[in-house]
Symmetry: none
Subunit: 207 residues, 4 copies
Amino acid sequence: MEDSKRLIILEAATRVFAEKGYQYATIADIAKAAGISTGLLYSYFENKLDVLLSIILKFLQTLNAANQECVGAARGPLARLHAVLHNFEQMLFRDKESLHTVKVLNEALPHLVMIKEEKLQAKRRDIIAENKILLETFDAIIRQGQLEDIFDKDLNPAVMRQVLCGAIERLHYGLFYSTYSDQSIGYDEKDAHQSIMHLIEKFICKK
Amino acid sequence: MEDSKRLIILEAATRVFAEKGYQYATIADIAKAAGISTGLLYSYFENKLDVLLSIILKFLQTLNAANQECVGAARGPLARLHAVLHNFEQMLFRDKESLHTVKVLNEALPHLVMIKEEKLQAKRRDIIAENKILLETFDAIIRQGQLEDIFDKDLNPAVMRQVLCGAIERLHYGLFYSTYSDQSIGYDEKDAHQSIMHLIEKFICKK
Amino acid sequence: MEDSKRLIILEAATRVFAEKGYQYATIADIAKAAGISTGLLYSYFENKLDVLLSIILKFLQTLNAANQECVGAARGPLARLHAVLHNFEQMLFRDKESLHTVKVLNEALPHLVMIKEEKLQAKRRDIIAENKILLETFDAIIRQGQLEDIFDKDLNPAVMRQVLCGAIERLHYGLFYSTYSDQSIGYDEKDAHQSIMHLIEKFICKK
Amino acid sequence: MEDSKRLIILEAATRVFAEKGYQYATIADIAKAAGISTGLLYSYFENKLDVLLSIILKFLQTLNAANQECVGAARGPLARLHAVLHNFEQMLFRDKESLHTVKVLNEALPHLVMIKEEKLQAKRRDIIAENKILLETFDAIIRQGQLEDIFDKDLNPAVMRQVLCGAIERLHYGLFYSTYSDQSIGYDEKDAHQSIMHLIEKFICKK
DNA sequence: GATGAATGAGCGTTCATTCAT
DNA sequence: AATGAATGAACGCTCATTCAT
């Protein structure tokens, strides 16, 4: 059981979930996309939900690992915030799949609470833990920026983080959707990036 | 076929979709919640997807109607922007269900393109049209604000609208999720509202 | 949901389980034999195992009810023992299906302990309780016979009951199998009945 | 293909069938218990059913071989009957697995008729033949006992044999089940053996 | 001989949808 | 108008069996 095949399946599944949505994606779809049989998929994953959770977990782990590096390298809260947001944007743009991973993640997170299956509890906890780390990374940077009197102190870090992440997600989601629907969204990647820079400068930074 | 029963079904369905998610909600669930039989539901709607589309359409129509009024009443782009965003926040907060309607809407919109069923084509087009109106309302206000030199001209209206709407959605979604997961999100409704005001003032308005 | 349909399904299932064995009987087989669709079966039963347990429970309840009547009517331990064994034989012979119910019951009883499904716990407990009643009915009669010095005291009631029931089952099972395999078993129903009478007279009764 | 490995597999399979039942035992379970791969199992057996039939055949052959010896050594029908029943009890008690072999055998015998697979026809015939030998051994002893006026002539040999074997099986099955369910059955091995002696003395022997 | 990755047919189960009443 | 019993297609998942190595 090579580990590379696990990755192939995860990538195929992300593609399929992205196209059809978790609910309408069938195991047969995923297996076909991965070039394997349905049975083999079950050698690598417990069940369909496990595939979804594994995608989410991998995304969060990759993002957190990238952040870990950046935050260590960058000097000062502003540089760190840029670095971390850059990671986020990078992951959304590396491939169209990643953006859908985020969509899938948002769709799945509220349901995480309800997962009953004993087999998946460990993975559930891992995801929640990684998610906490991700949020805490943002919040810590913002808190530090406020302490150093670089960032606006009027708003609490959690609110700022939500605004930033929500804006990024929506902007990229709009781009993504426009490619699907063949309807112009009225802006491009460069506009999106630029607006995030504006947002930091005007909304996060002091005065 | 009284029209009031149609409404009862739509409200019940919204509640059920909110609780279980569209995928896991069954027709039986909806019928039960509406106090009718499954068979009768099919006198009012073509099928399950039709129920979902009807909810979305009603939401967009209500929002657009409310905006129509506001925009007529309010004087100046800033007042209008506040009014329109107020409408949006109101709909999200009127009840927890509305937020889920938005989630469902976001989940459903990309799939609208793929709807093949002949029966639902009209409704599909209506939704897309209403969605266009909603976006155009925002964009028109922002364009006007830029023309009048009240709003920042560095960014295009579509980008600004996405940032605003993305921020609002994320903020409220965070609140919603925190009630489900029993984990504090670190801010409350007031914080969320205040941050949107900040966002307008610092990000949208000139200087 | 008429109760008569439940019975039709149970009878069809007994027939199918008898023919193919629980493991190789499919829901489709049972539904077809009952003249219904697979889906409808699930309106009446939780799942396949529930069908099996329901058959067993009904058999035990019917037998216990019949015993209840007999034991009240009959005078003296010997008459009661005859009555109760007569019931057992009657149930085995009423139709070929009943004998297979016994086989299925014997096959299933050891596995009852392992049933984990929450939904089926109540039924599991009912079966165990009815089984206890059945055994206790035999044992009480034998104990009383020993007290009244009519039955042999050398062996304990549980052993006697096992010998009697084991003998009856084997004798009838042999008859049943011979009809299936088209091989003469070397005795007929009358022989079987007569040998049980012998067994009581010589093995159970005192001298 | 050493023959010893065949034996190892058969013993492992018996253990697994005993624990889980034929239906719920998987080839993977058996292979694991035997310490080999699933693929290798298929070098020794045609398929899963072949493993079951091989266990049954070996059991019957072993029992018949043991009986052959006994019957030759023992003098007179009563001694022979004791010897043959002793063999049966021995095999049931040698280990708990043997009893399950008997259960499996009883469960499988009726289905032997229906085996269609060409590959297994020879084995099927062997089993039926060995089973006939087993029954005939009993019946011959009883017939001889009746001829010599030692055994009761009122009942035919086949009936007597069924009573004896049914009683033994039930008694031992009860013991076995009580260990699984942790419920006292009300008697022990000694009681069971004693009751068989009684049965011979009072039920089989003349007056 | 030995492995275990890979297959895919087949089963239990669900649920949107229909239709006789 | 209203019901809900009935249908059956479709999906998740298992596991006996094969075969390249």
